[in-house]
Symmetry: C2
Subunit: 136 residues, 2 copies
DNA sequence: CTTGCCCCTGACGCGCGGGGCAGGGGTTAG
DNA sequence: CTAACCCCTGCCCCGCGCGTCAGGGGCAAG
C-alpha cells in the first residue's frame, strides 16, 4: 500500500531533490530503496519520514559521515511509534551524544574564531592608524 | 642590493611557503617577481613586506579576489613611508571599505547562523523529547 | 664530479553536500 | 503510437587557499 511514490515525488515530499536521495542512499544514510520491476526506486511515506530525519540532522550541522556510522539510530528515530526514545533523551545520547558534543565544541570554536576575526576587522577599519599590521 | 633572497627564504621570512608566494603572484596579489638569469625568483625585503601585507589582509578574512582587484592599494600599503595613508584611516576606505563592509556583514550573518545552529543543537540534546524535528 | 638541497612549471587533490550533464530507458495521457 | 516527462547510472563540477606530487634544471659544498 505504501511504495507508490517515485523518487521525484518522494524528494518533493521531503523537501529535497532526487539527486540528494540517491546521494543519501549511496552514502548509507538511507537503506537501499525498493525497486520496481524496471529498476525504479519506490518510496512509501515511512521512507519520506526517514529522509526528513536525515535532513533535520544534517541541518543541525551533523555530517554525512556522522550519520552514516549511526544508521541504526536513524532507523529508530524514523519509526512511527518512537519506542526506543524511552531509553534516552532526544537523539539517543549513547550514540549521538559524542558526535553532537564534538560538533558543539567545533561550533563554539568556529564562532569564537569568527568573532575574533570580526573584531579585528572592525578595529582596523575603525582605528585611526594602527602602527602596523596584526602580527598574528 | 636587495634582491638576494630566493623564494624559500623569502617565504620563511614572511611566515609562509614558496607555494603560497607563487600562488599569490599567479593570482595577481604580488607583482611578478624579478628573475635571476636561470629563471629563479628573487625577492628583496620590500617584497617580503608586501607579502606580509597580503597575508595580514587574508588573515582578516578578505579573499584572494578581493585583493586581486585592489592591487594598487596593496602597493600603497606596502610602501616603507606609508605616504598614501594620510588621506585615509587605515586601509584606505575609498577602495577597501566596501569589501570590508561586505565581509563584516558576511561575518555577522555567519556568526548568527552558527549561533542559531548551536542553540538548536543544544536544545535537542538537552531537551526531554521535543514533539518532532525542527521544521526549519 | 657528485651529492643533496633548492627551484621551476603544470596539473591534480582536498572537504562537503550535492548540482548538472550525457546517454539511455520507463511511463502515462492524449 | 507518440509526445512529454520521469527515471536510471556514471561522471565531472563547485569554492578556496593553497598542499602535493611529477618531471626536470640550478647551485653551493665536499
Amino acid at each position: 500500500m505504501a511504495g507508490r511514490m517515485r523518487i521525484g515525488d518522494a524528494a518533493a515530499a521531503a523537501g529535497t531533490t532526487p539527486r540528494a536521495l540517491r546521494f543519501y542512499e549511496q552514502r548509507g544514510l538511507l537503506p537501499p530503496a525498493v525497486r520496481s520491476a524496471s529498476g525504479q526506486r519506490e518510496y512509501g511515506p515511512e521512507a519520506v519520514t526517514r529522509v526528513r530525519v536525515v535532513r533535520a540532522l544534517l541541518a543541525l550541522g551533523l555530517t554525512v559521515d556522522d550519520l552514516a556510522s549511526r544508521t541504526h539510530r536513524l532507523d529508530l528515530l524514523a519509526e512511527d511509534p518512537p519506542r526506543s526514545c524511552a531509553s534516552d533523551g532526544d537523539f539517543g545520547p549513547d550514540t549521538f551524544a559524542p558526535v553532537v558534543e564534538r560538533r558543539l565544541a567545533a561550533l563554539d570554536a568556529e564562532i569564537a574564531r569568527l568573532a575574533r576575526l570580526r573584531e579585528a576587522l572592525a578595529r582596523h577599519t575603525g582605528a585611526e592608524a594602527g602602527s602596523d599590521l596584526p602580527g598574528r
